[in-house]
Structures are given as structure tokens and as C-alpha cells.
Amino acid sequence: MSKQYETVIGLEVHVELATKTKIFCGCSTAFGAKPNTQTCPVCTGMPGSLPVLNKQVLKYAIAVGLATNCDITRYAKFDRKNYFYPDNPQNYQISQLYLPICRNGSVEIEMEEGGRKTVGIHEIHMEEDAGKLIHDEWEDSSLVDYNRSGVPLIEIVSEPDMRSAQEVIAYLEKLRLIIQYLGASDCKLQEGSMRADVNLSVRESGAQEFGTRTEMKNLNSFKAISRAIAGETQRQIDLIESGEKIVQETRRWDDVKGESYAMRSKEDAQDYRYFPDPDLAPVVVSDEMLEQMKEEQPEFRTEKMKRYKEEYGIPDYDIEIITGSKHMADLFESAAALSGQPKKVSNWLMGETLRLMKEKEMDASDLRFSPQNLAKLIALTDSKAVNSSVAKEVFEVMFEKDVDPEKYVEEKGLKTVNDEGALRSVVEEVLAANPQSVADFKNGKEKAIGFLVGQTMKAMKGKADPATVNQMLREMM
């Protein structure tokens, strides 16, 4: 009879902070610039250069700590982590080991089977990102791009409190939402602004001791994380079942092959010779600063959901979806305020927006259209300047390119014809051309009017209000 196993998981999550400049110098953090164009003596490790902490990094780190119920360290320090690698220009990374900025936090996650669970946060620390190595196979050489060197990161280290892939995803989604609500990062796994390393061990159900853990790297999507957890759990169980030992090691996940391979074991782990960085003054968080930060914390999801229900009276399901993304919630609130029609805004988001997002495999944070343009489109439909099918057509363009719907409708001549004379003559032509349908309608076949409305709309090239057409047809028959 096979034994029952429990998976024990802890996460190390790196989040790239959304500051305009790097953590220790004034260089831009913008993504996608030409290699080594966003660099200076500090972030390329030139001799004699000195780091100066970007205060916004500290603010973001504290904000995330407060939102995750952490104790904020009032006297924190930066430490140097020493290791030689070309992407690390000083050959030490400035990080925090001894006195990290946040400790002892927690977040609550929703369980699949219902109920909630608390996942502990061991610590959150600030650190600098490394540069990027580009291996040129053709020349058999490597090139370094230091644009990313010094981009600010926080690392959120959880306690080993998770027991399944579902809990891991719920935890990550919760963190992502909190951080997005704070505006501290866009947290995109695919683009690397959120990276999760999975520490995983298995043990027999009911056992008190943890098993030997491995650390899995290179997980670029929730799907990859789920697959890696399943794969690693099985690999470890197989080893145990066959009487082999699990080696404490770092493994790299290959999502294409659906398997992992060992990168380095604990035996060849480096001694990082951590020590406090003498170039940086200790970070002292004053009472005033902490109080101010607490006051400045934004409205988080739970409060927002409650307020939406009271203020806008939209369905719970809509609230759930809309508040599931900070960007969408912002979009909703602005458009609702501009249009004065929260329900209609919600309908556009829940209907067309979700449909197009799904079709284009987009994330809510990627939505490009502005609340102003959505409000304008709602105004156009309210005034019956466009009918609903034209509105959908316009929305699709707006969704792509954030066009101004008023201008677009004008330019493309999509405005509903409200000239009754013109419409009446078209209706007359339609009635004359379809005597059979007219007869059917008169004989009580209610369905026939649908056909006639369709013919009229077609003749009007869609630029009529179907309800008005319907009304006119009935009158004229």
C-alpha cells in the first residue's frame, strides 16, 4: 500500500519596483533601451563611485510590508553579498541580510475548497538587480548589458506554509494584487517584473519534520509554477519510494520539456561573506515617516469591494472581476465618475472588455483604452447617436488603439441617422420591396417584423436606431 505524502512549499518572490530611477543612482529603469545606455559609474561598478539609496524604494518596501502585516524594522541596514559574476559589476550585490526592512508578516489566501488560510512572510528585503549577460554563440563570447544593473527589487520570503500549487497561485495572486494596488510594481511574471523561486520538500502525511528541500528557478508563468510543483513533488516522492536521498540543491525548470535539472547543490554553495555595506548609512524609519506611510496606504481590494457594493450597486460578480485588477478598478472608477453610469461602465468591462481580453490573451493591466473614451462611448449610445452594434464596433477599435469614439464615429460616418424623413423613405422602399413579409405581419406573424427591421438596417448601413425602425415599421403597416 502506497504512503500518503504532503508537499511543503515556501516561496521567494522577487518584485521589480516601479521607480523611475535605479536603487542607488539616478539612471533610468525604463525597459527596452539600447544596451548600456542607462548606466553610470555607480551601476557599472566603477572605482570610487558610491551608492545613494533612492528613497522611493524604501517607501515602496515599507508600503508592501505594511500591506502584508509585517513589522517594519526601524533601524535597517544594507549588506554586501559577495560573489564574482560578470553581470554583477562590483562583484558584490547590495542586499539585506542581517536587518531587513520588513519581518514577520502574513497574508490571507482563499482556499479552493473554501475557507481561508494564513501564509506567513518571513521577511521582505530590498536589493539591486544584476545586469544581463548575452551569450554570443557565434563569436563564442559573452556580452554584458548593465541597463538592468541597479534596478530596485524587493524579495518577499514566505514561511513554508503552502501545501499545494493552488495555494501557491492564490498566494502569488494575493501578493500581486496588493503590490499592484500600491502601485509598487506591475508584477508581470512573463516580463520578469515578478519572479518566484519555489522551495519545495515532501514528507509523509502527519510527519513533524520537514523533508530535504530543493529550490526551483526559472518559473515564468502561473502555469509553469503549477507544472513545476507537480513535477518536483513527484520526483521527490519517487526518490523517497525508491529509497534514494533527496539532495538539497537549486534546480532549473524547463517548461518546454516539462522537467527540471540540477544547477548547483548545497555542497558547492558559495560563502557570500555578507557584511554591512559601509558605503550606506543605516536606514532609520522614524515614527513620523511610519505614521505618514500608514495614512497614505491606498484602499485595498476588500475595502474597495465593500464600497463598490454600497456606492455603485453593481453585482458581486462584477465587483469581484473589476477589483481583481488595480488597473481595471481605476478604469472603472474614472469612467463611472465621468459618465455617471457605473452600471453601463461595468457592462462594458464585463462584456466586451473581458471577451476581447480573452481573445487576445491579455492581462487586465495591459488594457490601453482610457476612461475618458469609454465615458464618451457611453454618452454616444445614451444619446442614440450610435446604436449598440456600431458601439461594439467602435469599442473594438478603441480597445486596440484608444481612439476618441466621437471623432472616430464622425470620421467614419457611423452616426445614426435621426432624420425621420430619410428613414421614412427607406422604410417605405423596404415595405414596397417585401410585400410577402408585410402580409405575414398583418396576418399576425410577429416574427416577420424582425426581417423587415434587418432589411431597413441593412439599407441604412447600420446607422439607424433599431427600436426607432421597429416603431416606424409598425406605424406604417
Partner: protein, 520 residues
């Protein structure tokens, strides 16, 4: 008076008065460097063209009335661990043998803004690690008082350049005595300010928590003038302090009435040369005569300063020097197989023995399992040493003692025994550990004809007290000759008012240079 024999302040006043120009001063200095460098080797790089270009520009701006400060047009030398844009900056190491920075150290920038003219970069112990300037990859500097002796270190090139009259003043850096000790050996004034007073931006770090930039000058007036010019808060250095009291020249007053001066018994124990001891105590006597209250006391913990210093400085250095890997700049080995081999060979070939010794020591004290026993313990002792000084400064305004146990050792005598060399730092090191200001100024000459240095130590941010005491002592002592016979400052400035005339000074230079050569 010949312009070559002037102090920085005197030269600046002479230029301002229109009696000479920055161009003439720079040219005269460059000519003297050309004549003497074969003997002393104070410089790693002499920037003749650059200096002349700067001098011409500065002179124009002086004449236009744009530059009016006390250092306008005065040529100086800069220690080779301070970055200078467009000018080779080697740290006297092979590993930076081709390094030309794109930026300038803040202290140097401030001087340039004040109209300084940079003659070149001075020799030093490699990465400031050493007390003799013999660990330089570019050859040792000789003591201008006697070329068989070392000039001290690590700012030996700067001290020797001032002493040999190859610049009007120089910048050095002091991590454990690297300004004060060579100043003492070369008979010039050297000051290490309170940690955080001068920006470290652009100073190639040795021990970041201990390093401070400071002046080496011909007299105390120049020392205060230069320090005033380079002290300022700098947002590019997180350890830079904001202070309002950097008008150091205000402290140049011949008044020590009632000043409380403490002489630590610990600084006069075993190992201190008798001649040095006598000179230093005589200096204390001079200050007493002027009304200072001089007392002996026990400072304690002095014996722990050296191991504490070498643990902390080496730990920081081991990390600070990691960036020199042959990848981005500096020396890279010619042949290598793969990344790690390249690191290994570039660093093995690029660093000298003393640097490697300290990198190994520093890596060891930071390694897992030893960190608490060595590095953390050293930090605790450092805090205790600071506390001992705090207690002393509750009683005294200034602490007075020797700079080093002996005068300059002979060339080659220290390298064979690094521990002995380390022990030579005993009186200077605690000042860095406690972040205090300290000044070294000449107080005598021993029987070998080598200068003896007096050290005054102040509490944090009390540079003015130090400068006042130093200035008062300097007046009592009378002006000190630079290198034997080069100029007759002693005669010129003696309190009895006997002054030499400029024309005579020029005659004497010729005569004394011949004497100087006879030392070879």
C-alpha cells in the same frame, strides 16, 4: 621671495597682487618636478600639458575677477587613488595601470572650482595598503630629507612632493594614518578630518568606513585653507555629513589659553623612540607655556587598535577590491581559459603582495563561521575605542602625542616584516576607528636629520580646536624648513622677525639642491 618657496596662501596672494601668474607658478613647479623626480619619484603621472592649460585658463579667470579665493592659481598634487576625469588613476597598482576615469572625485572638483591647477598624480602604497609607499607597483618614493629613507605611506608621494617643493600642497587619503604618518616622516603638515567631512565620491575605496581625504601642506594656515575648500556635504556620498562649521581658517588664532590638553600615557610606552618622545613632550611644553592646561591620562584600549583596524579595513578592502576583475576596465591577463581562470590570473598578476595579503585576511574574517569571532568582535572593540575617546574628550579639548614610534625607516626595512610595519601605525589608527580628526605637524629633527611629527587629536567635528592648537604651536616653534636647506623658512619666519629677501631665497635654492643631490 622665489615663488617656489611660497606657501599656497602666499602664492595665491602674490598672483592676486599681479606680481606673478598661475602660469609662471605652474611652469616653475613643472620644471622643478622635471629636475627632481629622478631623485624622489613623488609622482606616478605628471600632467604637464593639462597643468599648463589649466593654469592659463585659471589666470584668465583670476584677471577677469571670477576667481578670488585663496587657492586660485595654486598648483597641487593629487594622490593617485582620487579619480580625475581624463587623467590616469592607478592607485599605484598594475591592475589599474590603464584606468582613465570619466569622472572626478568631489574633493578634487571642489578644488578645481576654486581655481586649483593639478600638476599630476602622486605615488602611494598600492591601494593605500602600506606605510612606506614601497608597495607601489611603480617603484618607491624616496624621502626628500634623505633618499635612503622612506617617505612614509600610504600618501608618501603627496607628502614627499610637498616636502620636496614639487607642489604647493597635495591631497592624500587617510585610512589608518596614511596622511599623518607620511606628513610626519617628511616634515610637513597633514590632516585627517572627521569622518564624513570630505566627500569620498571618487576616492577609490580601501576601508570605506575609515577612509577620509585630507590635505598635506607646508604649514597650518594652508592646511586650514585647503580643508575649508574641500569640506562640504555631498549628496553623492551617503556617509557625507552636513555641517555648518567648515570655515576652518577662522580657527587660525595664536591662543591656547585655558585649552585642556591630554597626553595619553599609553602613547608614550614601550617602542617609542626616545628622541621622538623628547620632541613631542617639548612641544607639549610650548603649548603649556602659552597657557594650555596639559595633563597626563590613561586612554586605554590602545593595544587593541591594531588588530581591530586590520580586521575591519581588510574585510572592507576584500570586498571593495572585488570589482577589479579584468572584465570592465583595468588589467586583464593575456591568456586564459574560461571566466574563472580569467578572474584568477588577472587578479593574481594585477595585485601586489601586500594587497593580496589583505584581501586574503579580509576574506577570511568575513567567511562563514569566522564572521562573529573576528569581524563582529572587531566592530565591538571599535565601539569601545570610540567610547574611551568620548570619555577622554569629556576632560580634554585636544589629545597630544607622537604620530609614529620612530622617524622614517630606511628603504626596504619594512617590507620584510609586515607585522612590524603594522605596529608602526599604533598612534594613528585609533583616530580612524573612532572617526576623529587628527593633525600631524613637524616638531623636531632627530640625530639622523629626519623630521619628527607631533599629533593632535580632537573630538568629532572639533577640527577648529586642533587647528588653533596646531597654529599656536607652529608660532611658538617657528617655521619649519621643508627639506634641509631648500628654503630658509626657519630664518624667514623666526619670531624675532629676521626675514630673508626673495632674491636671496633663489640663490639658496641652487645651493641647497646641490646639497640635496649629495644625499643620493
Amino acid at each position: 621671495m622665489n615663488i617656489l618657496d611660497m606657501t599656497a596662501a602666499e602664492l595665491s596672494a602674490t598672483i592676486k597682487a599681479g606680481r606673478t601668474t598661475a602660469v609662471d607658478a605652474a611652469r616653475a613647479m613643472l620644471e622643478r618636478i622635471e629636475e627632481q623626480e629622478g631623485m624622489y619619484h613623488c609622482y606616478v603621472t605628471v600632467d604637464s600639458e593639462g597643468a599648463m592649460a589649466q593654469a592659463r585658463e585659471v589666470q584668465e579667470r583670476i584677471e577677469a575677477g571670477e576667481l578670488t579665493g585663496p587657492l586660485a592659481g595654486v598648483p597641487l598634487a593629487v594622490k593617485d587613488n582620487l579619480c580625475t576625469a581624463g587623467l590616469l588613476t592607478t592607485c599605484s597598482s598594475k591592475i589599474l595601470g590603464n584606468f582613465v576615469p570619466t569622472y572626478t572625485a568631489e574633493a578634487v572638483s571642489r578644488l578645481k572650482k576654486a581655481g586649483a591647477v593639478i600638476l599630476g598624480k602622486t605615488n602611494m602604497d598600492e591601494f593605500a595598503m602600506g606605510s612606506t609607499t614601497e608597495t607601489s607597483a611603480y617603484g618607491a618614493t624616496k624621502n626628500p630629507w634623505n633618499t635612503n629613507y622612506v617617505p612614509g605611506g600610504s600618501s608618501g608621494g603627496s607628502a614627499a612632493a610637498v616636502a620636496a617643493g614639487e607642489c604647493y600642497y597635495a591631497l592624500g587619503s587617510d585610512t589608518g594614518g596614511s596622511i599623518r604618518q607620511p606628513a610626519s616622516y617628511c616634515g610637513v603638515v597633514g590632516m585627517k578630518p572627521t569622518y564624513g567631512t570630505v566627500s569620498r565620491y571618487g576616492l577609490i575605496a580601501y576601508g570605506s568606513s575609515l577612509d577620509q581625504i585630507g590635505p598635506l601642506t607646508k604649514d597650518v594656515t594652508d592646511c586650514a585653507t585647503v580643508l575649508e575648500a574641500i569640506s562640504a556635504h555631498d549628496s553623492k556620498d551617503s556617509t557625507s555629513v552636513e555641517r555648518q562649521d567648515t570655515d576652518f581658517t577662522c580657527a587660525l588664532q595664536d591662543d591656547v589659553q585655558g585649552m585642556r590638553i591630554g597626553i595619553p600615557n599609553d602613547y608614550f610606552g614601550e617602542g617609542l623612540d626616545e628622541e621622538v618622545k623628547a620632541s613631542v613632550l617639548k612641544a607639549a611644553g610650548e603649548l603649556k607655556k602659552k597657557g594650555a592646561v596639559v595633563e597626563r591620562f590613561d586612554l586605554s584600549l590602545v593595544e587593541y587598535a591594531i588588530p581591530t583596524y586590520y580586521t575591519i579595513a581588510a574585510a572592507e578592502a576584500s570586498s571593495n577590491l572585488e570589482r577589479f576583475d579584468g572584465i570592465k576596465y583595468g588589467y586583464r591577463t593575456a591568456d586564459y581559459a574560461g571566466l574563472h581562470n580569467m578572474y584568477k590570473k588577472s587578479r593574481s598578476e594585477g595585485f601586489g603582495e601586500e594587497v593580496k595579503r589583505r584581501i586574503m585576511l579580509g576574506s577570511f574574517v568575513l567567511s562563514s563561521g569566522y564572521y562573529d569571532a573576528y569581524y563582529l568582535k572587531a566592530l565591538r572593540v571599535k565601539a569601545l575605542i570610540k567610547k574611551a575617546f568620548d570619555e577622554a574628550f569629556a576632560k580634554y579639548d585636544v589629545i597630544l602625542g607622537p604620530v609614529a614610534p620612530t622617524t622614517a625607516p630606511e628603504l626596504g626595512a619594512s617590507l620584510s616584516d609586515p607585522i612590524k610595519m603594522y605596529l608602526g601605525d599604533i598612534y594613528t589608527i585609533a583616530v580612524n576607528l573612532a572617526g576623529l580628526p587628527g593633525i600631524s605637524l613637524p616638531c623636531g629633527i632627530d640625530q639622523k636629520g629626519l623630521p619628527i611629527g607631533l599629533q593632535l587629536i580632537g573630538d568629532c567635528f572639533q577640527e577648529k580646536k586642533l587647528l588653533r592648537a596646531a597654529y599656536a604651536y607652529e608660532r611658538a616653534r617657528g617655521a619649519f624648513q621643508l627639506r634641509p636647506g631648500t628654503d630658509k623658512r626657519m630664518e624667514r619666519n623666526l619670531p624675532n622677525g629676521k626675514q630673508t629677501k626673495g632674491t636671496e631665497g633663489a640663490e639658496k635654492i641652487k645651493q641647497t639642491e646641490q646639497e640635496g643631490q649629495s644625499h643620493e
